[in-house]
């Protein structure tokens, strides 16, 4: 009964003193806005990362051959060396603790490791020879370099075939861990080009894959079959194309058994289509029109290896069987791989999984969120004290009004209720403005970072409830003071 009257009265009071009301609310507005903003950006980041993880398969373990981190000083030396070679064309460079001559011709680069005596001599795409003690040396043809899943770190030394995992090693690994491994996926980005027919074309990337790739990447077949083991063993020129490409190039004709011609800048490759898979857009890629869509064409990895720099494998993905503890298995794999690479003092094979990446990213984001929430909390505290201050002023200003109300029959509880309601109204309006501001900032922030903005209604409800709580908490003391005023004193107050 009184609540409605009190709310109307409080709103009338706020309206009559707009500037003061706004300033009073400001602390609450900023506090709530920063909480909402941070939470919505955080949510957007998390959901974006999660959807990426989901599309990749979060439980998958990636094995990557990378430079040992202890050799990082060497990398620097090598880098200088590389720069010197490419400038001078034919120049011997001396690095600390090593005697070495680099000789690069036709764009080739000589690479070098510290603590070794080694000579690199590469010509016209020839492979470098290896120096003693398992230390790599030699040149890499120009234009070669990274491939596959990419390499981590800024290492400038490039792994040679000798450092990489061979198919035999990978097969052995799969046999050794046959209880844990569901499948192993290898892939090699081959080239990008266009598939053409008489009237139109489709952009494609050819990707060399093995049989396990389908399982690991959860590729759903629409027609035909995926690549089979004998396609790979026999190095067949067959391909699995996307439904988008099939529709565009073949229209209503059944694409299975048809040939596609892949045009690159300087060559044409022909593959026979054996299957069509369902294209699915990756996690956070923006939807482009089907005309410009670039889809993958999967070919046997042995086919792509024919033209690849490295014949062995730098990276591959393991899909564990259901129920396998990914963390434990990753540790086991790391131990196995470190034994395998014990003799190689420059490179190692590291097993990592998305979960640990996700965890570290989440914990980092949590720390940031916590810090900003702490600041927001302080802002809310200060805002609340501001509200209390204004409420105390308001009680003093309205002493006579309080006295009159008491003379007219208001009980202490009525007066207390009136002021608490007023405080709640201030904080709630502040909270609503803060929520709106926070949603705006969150949306802008998420958009600027390229995430899809999602705000859970729960956060809004909690913020709303929390601002009401501040109203009660910081309004209680002034309201109590008002309620305890002696009516005689209050009526006489000037």
């Amino acid at each position: 009964m009184f609540i409605k009257e009190n709310i109307l009265l409080a709103i009338a009071g706020l309206k009559s003193n707009k500037m003061r009301s706004l300033l009073t609310m400001l602390g609450i507005i900023i506090g709530i806005a920063s909480v909402i903003g941070v939470v919505s950006v955080g949510n957007a980041m998390t959901s974006s990362v999660n959807s990426q993880m989901a599309s990749m398969g979060a439980t998958n373990i990636t094995v990557n051959v990378q430079e040992k981190s202890t050799t990082s000083t060497t990398s620097t030396t090598s880098k200088n060396n590389t720069a010197g070679n490419s400038q001078g064309g034919n120049k011997g460079t001396q690095a600390a603790g090593s005697t070495q001559s680099g000789n690069a011709q036709g764009g080739n680069k000589g690479t070098q490791a510290a603590g070794s005596t080694q000579s690199g001599n590469a010509q016209g795409g020839n492979k470098g020879t290896q120096a003693g003690g398992g230390i790599p040396g030699g040149g890499i043809p120009g234009g070669g370099g990274n491939f596959g899943g990419g390499r981590q770190g800024k290492s400038s030394s490039t792994a040679k075939d000798i450092d990489l995992m061979t198919m035999a090693q990978i097969n052995t690994l799969q046999e050794n861990f046959s209880d844990e491994i569901s499948s192993i996926s290898m892939n090699e980005s081959d080239l990008s080009g266009k598939v053409k027919n008489e009237t139109t074309y489709a952009n494609i990337n050819t990707v060399g894959t093995n049989v396990g790739y389908q399982d690991v990447k959860s590729i759903a077949m629409q027609k035909g079959r995926y690549l089979a083991q004998n396609d790979i063993d026999e190095v067949k020129n067959v391909a699995v194309v996307s439904d988008k490409l099939a529709t565009k190039i073949f229209g209503t004709t059944d694409p299975i058994g048809q040939d596609i011609k892949v045009y690159t800048s300087n060559a044409i490759f022909t593959y026979t289509v054996v299957g069509v898979y369902t294209y699915k857009a990756s996690g956070n890629s923006r939807t482009t029109s089907d005309d410009n869509l670039t889809t993958d064409v999967y070919i046997p990895i042995t086919v792509s290896k024919k033209t690849a720099t490295n014949k062995n494998y730098q990276t591959f993905t393991i899909k564990p069987k259901d129920g396998v503890d990914v963390q434990t298995f990753t540790t086991e794999l790391s131990t196995y791989l470190s034994t395998l690479y014990a003799k190689n003092n420059k490179f190692e094979a590291a097993a990592s999984n998305m979960e640990s990446m996700l965890e570290s990213r989440t914990s980092m984001m949590n720390t940031v969120s916590l810090a900003i929430s702490g600041i927001a909390g302080i802002s809310l505290l200060v805002g609340g004290i501001g509200v209390m201050n204004i409420m105390l002023v308001s009680v003093t200003e309205r002493t006579r009004e309080i006295g009159t109300r008491k003379a007219l029959g208001a009980k202490s509880s009525h007066i207390k209720m009136q002021f608490i309601v007023e405080s709640i109204i201030i904080c709630t309006i502040g909270g609503i403005l803060g929520i709106l501001l926070g949603l705006g900032l969150g949306a802008m922030g998420a958009k600027a970072m390229g995430f899809v903005n999602t705000v859970s209604p729960l956060v809004i409800i909690i913020s709303f409830g929390f601002s009401m709580f501040i109203g009660v908490f910081f309004g209680y003391y002034p309201a109590k003071k008002a309620a305890e005023l002696d009516p005689i004193e209050a009526l006489r107050y000037e």
Binding site: R405, G409, A410
Partner: protein, 245 residues
């Protein structure tokens, strides 16, 4: 049930200014006011007038003595009980009007009924009825700062009447008004007294105003020095009757 609205017996009110200094502001007051009487209490400042008014108005309790207001013993009820007494049995009219700012005349008049717990429809009807009685029907939606002093006091009188109280307690109701509007307010009190049969206690230091009432209680230094039936009142009353005839 007696027809005495106010029965005060040996009311003593003491204040303590520092522990040893006990000051007796009221030194044993006996007052009886009958139902339908228009009584004035006069006294100079410092006579204990305000203290007596606070006790009559249930804003304060006497240190000792007995105060029965319309068969309710005021001495032994709680603070909330006093609030209820003020709400239901006393209608205050103040010198400074004490209307609630930023609330319309109508809302001001509705306020005691809100604390009484009446529903909105009844409140509205009753408030409109009383504002009409005091001649403020055309200014119901105006806020106090849009009203003149006389208009404010009329709204305050309407507010004092809404819960149909046992007494109207008016504390210098014309003190802040010029003589013409003061006259109008006094006429309104007479109207309420004569037409509505209300019991009115007027507290003033103005002898002229007091002489318009039926009985004058004079207070000096915490004691009642005289309680006199006022002949002038009856004379005026008769003259008016003559005019009417």
């Amino acid at each position: 049930m007696s027809n005495n609205i106010i029965e005060m017996k040996n009311i003593i009110k003491s204040f303590y200014i520092g522990t040893p200094n006990q000051i007796n502001v009221l030194k044993g007051i006996d007052i009886t006011v009958k139902e339908g009487e228009f009584v004035s209490i006069i006294g100079t400042s410092g006579s204990g007038k305000s203290t007596l008014m606070n006790i009559i108005g249930a804003l304060d309790r006497a240190t000792s003595g007995e105060y029965i207001l319309d068969d309710t013993n005021i001495n032994d009820i709680s603070d909330d009980g006093l609030s209820q007494v003020r709400n239901k049995q006393i209608g205050f009219v103040f010198q400074t009007y004490n209307l609630i700012p930023r609330s319309s005349a109508l809302k001001n008049v509705e306020l005691p009924m809100l604390y009484y717990g009446m529903n909105k429809k009844d409140r509205r009807e009753r408030a409109e009825e009383l504002l009409e009685l005091v001649g403020m029907a055309d200014r119901m939606s105006h806020q106090p700062n849009e009203l003149s002093g006389g208009q404010k006091q009329r709204v305050a009188i309407a507010r004092a009447l809404v819960n149909n109280p046992s007494i109207i307690l008016a504390d210098e109701p014309t003190g802040a008004l010029d003589s013409a509007t003061g006259r109008m307010v006094m006429d309104l009190f007479h109207k309420i007294h004569e037409e509505e049969g209300k019991t009115i206690v007027l507290i003033t230091h103005n002898n002229e105003l007091a002489e318009e009432t039926q009985r004058i209680i004079t207070l000096r230094d915490g004691n009642i020095t005289s309680v006199a039936d006022n002949e002038k009142y009856y004379r005026r009353f008769k003259e008016e009757e003559k005019i009417c005839l």
